[in-house]
């Protein structure tokens, strides 16, 4: 238990099965038996192919959906027990998400300023320097206040809306920020500024970030620890440098083998086929039968088998 108090967030054996269709229900195992911890003031990147369960984990932490089994602890407290209105409000004051589709977060009928008004109204922040602080955070995320405030969501780009959401997180005293493909809408030239900003937030305010991404280079740049997901399972986790330098799981290996790197060209002789990984993973699990999820080194864990 003491271990869970130290971490700002602890996820234990988390699973989520989606059921769709009424008469002929179809079950999708989106997340299966996933466990990890988030230390205060760190950035952890969540990496995996499309459909591997990344967004689902984010939604589970934000209590937008209920787990099928498993537990999530926020500072040692089981988040399932956060039920009454005041407690929920307190939770959302500290745990925030920015999702892939920023348009969904904004009400198209209201000016974008409303997201700031809402947090001031519902979380009871000191309003005396409201305007000044809003201007400051907008500048921090590279937005011109005069060209942003007063606009409707459709008048801004996806990247601008995402930066508005980061600005909101800046304004609040967030403990955990879930950033889901935050960067994908931003261009190379603005991207680094936003990444650096996230890092500064963790350093200055002790905020933790779950950084969900497809981009391995970005994941490496920004995160202390990494989680690699494959088909709903956590297949490798731990220290970012260790995972990137000596990946063990065949899926992780394939990922690093396919990332386009400047200064290192893909081997043209190598027969590269994404589908091959399915067989490789099967074989790997067979070879390592009985080992389960185990340490491969200090702060480096690998899913060796699924028996």
């Amino acid at each position: 238990m003491s271990e869970q108090v130290q971490n700002v967030m602890s996820v234990r054996n988390l699973s989520k099965v989606f059921k769709s269709g009424v008469f002929k229900p179809k079950y999708t195992v989106a997340v299966q038996d996933v466990s990890f911890d988030i230390k205060p003031g760190t950035i952890i990147s969540l990496i995996g192919e499309s459909g591997s369960g990344k967004t689902t984990i984010g939604k589970l932490i934000l209590k937008l959906i209920k787990p099928s089994s498993g537990k999530i602890y926020y500072k040692g407290k089981d988040i399932e027990e956060i039920r009454n209105k005041d407690e929920l409000k307190e939770y959302y004051k500290k745990v925030q998400g920015i999702f892939q589709d920023p348009f969904a977060t904004f009400n198209p009928l209201y000016r974008v300023d409303r997201i700031f008004d809402m947090i001031y109204d519902s979380f009871g922040y000191d309003k005396s320097n409201k305007e000044e602080r809003i201007h400051q955070v907008l500048q921090d995320v590279n937005l011109v206040p005069e060209r942003t405030l007063g606009k409707f969501p459709h008048q801004l780009s996806g990247g601008q809306l995402q930066r508005l959401l980061i600005a909101r997180a800046l304004l609040m005293d967030v403990d955990v920020l879930i950033a889901d493909e935050l960067i994908s809408m931003l261009d190379a030239s603005t991207r680094i500024g936003v990444l650096n900003l996230l890092v500064e937030l963790t350093e200055k305010k002790g905020m933790s970030v779950i950084f969900i991404t497809h981009d391995l280079n970005l994941g490496y740049y920004i995160s202390d620890e990494s989680l690699i997901m494959y088909k709903g399972r956590l297949v490798e986790s731990g220290d970012t440098k260790k995972i990137y330098e000596s990946p063990v799981h065949p899926y992780t290996k394939m990922l690093f083998n396919s990332v386009p790197e400047i200064g290192k060209r893909w081997d043209p002789e190598e027969e590269f086929l994404p589908e091959q990984v399915i067989k490789d993973v099967e074989e790997f699990y067979k070879e390592n039968a009985g080992k389960g999820f185990a340490a491969a080194g200090e702060n480096h864990y690998v899913l060796y088998s699924i028996d």
Binding site: E49, S50, N142, T190, N196, L255, P260, G263, P268, P274
Partner: protein, 328 residues
């Protein structure tokens, strides 16, 4: 090998809207050589797709303003629709951005392909599908995909289907617009190398590979051209653009690229402050000057294309003074 198959000279194409003109392709010149992959990079909204549509299909509000485009020696800007249609798929083909969204959820892949090629005057008969199957083998897809619904295929597999159709007539020149950006890294590698393999095998001739991702261009392009806000910025051999960029914008782009091996703890990368200007009724001058740390009075005038060395060209008044200042 140095034969030019596409020659674009001072091309201008604007969107004419109520409020005025969006100058998305403004004085662009380039040539594509037989058998090469030319990468076109630049951030969102800089005019990459507009350049592609200008070559293929100018639909209002996009208008051709001036300049010259010669494909295999023929002036395609002043050609009739019918004449151009004859060149489609055979001489010039495109894999449009967002092509993946074109699949209809209720149509099997076979029907989707048949409908698409019929629009281009190809009869989707048995013989045609024999060729399709041959190509499916080439891209490592099982023939059974033809009888599947799009939902059952991954993004990478759908992109391969699109590539099979767009290259079915062995086009001499193909434009690939962001074909990797919606894909997982492993599919990105497969799809990008596939294009290079099709070229190596002589199935397709030359490629204009559009992407905002320079690290993919580093992998497969022989040359790279960079655009900024509708203007030409820099063009040169890949290693030269990546290793010795001369334009302040290219420099900034490359130095802000995160790469494996660089962590913020060890080395903080710096981005470029600000955002690109609106292209609506934009006036004279270097369009990067609002964000450029080296901007000076002369930048109020539009910089002319200048030669740095063989094959390396730039549009910047001050590149020589800036020299090797690495912008970090």
């Amino acid at each position: 090998m140095n034969e030019t198959i596409l020659e674009i000279k001072n091309l201008k194409a604007y969107y004419k809207i109520l409020k005025g003109e969006v100058k998305a392709v403004d004085d662009i010149s380039l040539e594509i050589r037989r058998g090469e992959i030319l990468g076109l990079a630049g951030e969102s909204g800089c005019g990459k797709s507009t350049l592609a549509s200008t070559l293929i299909s100018r639909k209002p509000p996009l208008h051709y303003i001036s300049g010259e485009v010669k494909l295999l020696g023929q002036d395609i800007m002043n050609m009739s629709k019918e004449e151009f249609q004859k060149m489609r798929l055979k001489n010039i083909s495109i894999i449009p951005q967002y092509a993946l969204d074109a699949f209809s959820p209720t149509k099997k892949i076979r029907t989707f392909i048949a409908d698409l090629v019929s629009e281009h005057g190809i009869k989707p008969d048995e013989e045609f599908f024999e060729k399709v199957k041959e190509r499916l083998d080439f891209v490592n897809l099982d023939h059974s995909v033809l009888d599947r619904y799009p939902m059952e295929l991954s993004g990478g597999m759908k992109q391969r289907v699109i590539m099979v159709i767009s290259t079915i007539l062995d086009p001499e020149f193909i434009i690939a617009d962001e074909i990797t950006s919606a894909l997982d890294v492993s599919s990105q590698r497969f799809v990008a190398t596939l294009l290079a393999r099709l070229r190596d095998e002589g199935i397709i001739g030359s490629v204009l590979f559009i992407t905002h991702d320079l690290s993919i261009l580093y992998q497969i392009a022989e040359r790279i051209m960079v655009m900024y806000a509708g203007h030409f910025v820099e063009i040169g051999p890949t290693d030269e653009i990546i290793g010795n960029p001369c334009h302040p914008y290219t420099k900034a782009l490359i130095s802000s690229l995160p790469r494996v091996g660089i962590q913020y703890k060890d080395k903080k990368l710096s981005g470029i402050k600000g955002t690109p200007p609106s292209l609506l009724n934009i006036g004279e001058g270097c369009r990067f000057r609002f964000r450029c740390p080296y901007a000076a009075g002369e930048c109020e005038e539009t910089p002319q294309r200048e030669k740095i060395n063989d094959g390396h060209y730039i549009a910047c008044w001050r590149w020589q003074e800036i020299g090797s200042d690495s912008n970090e």
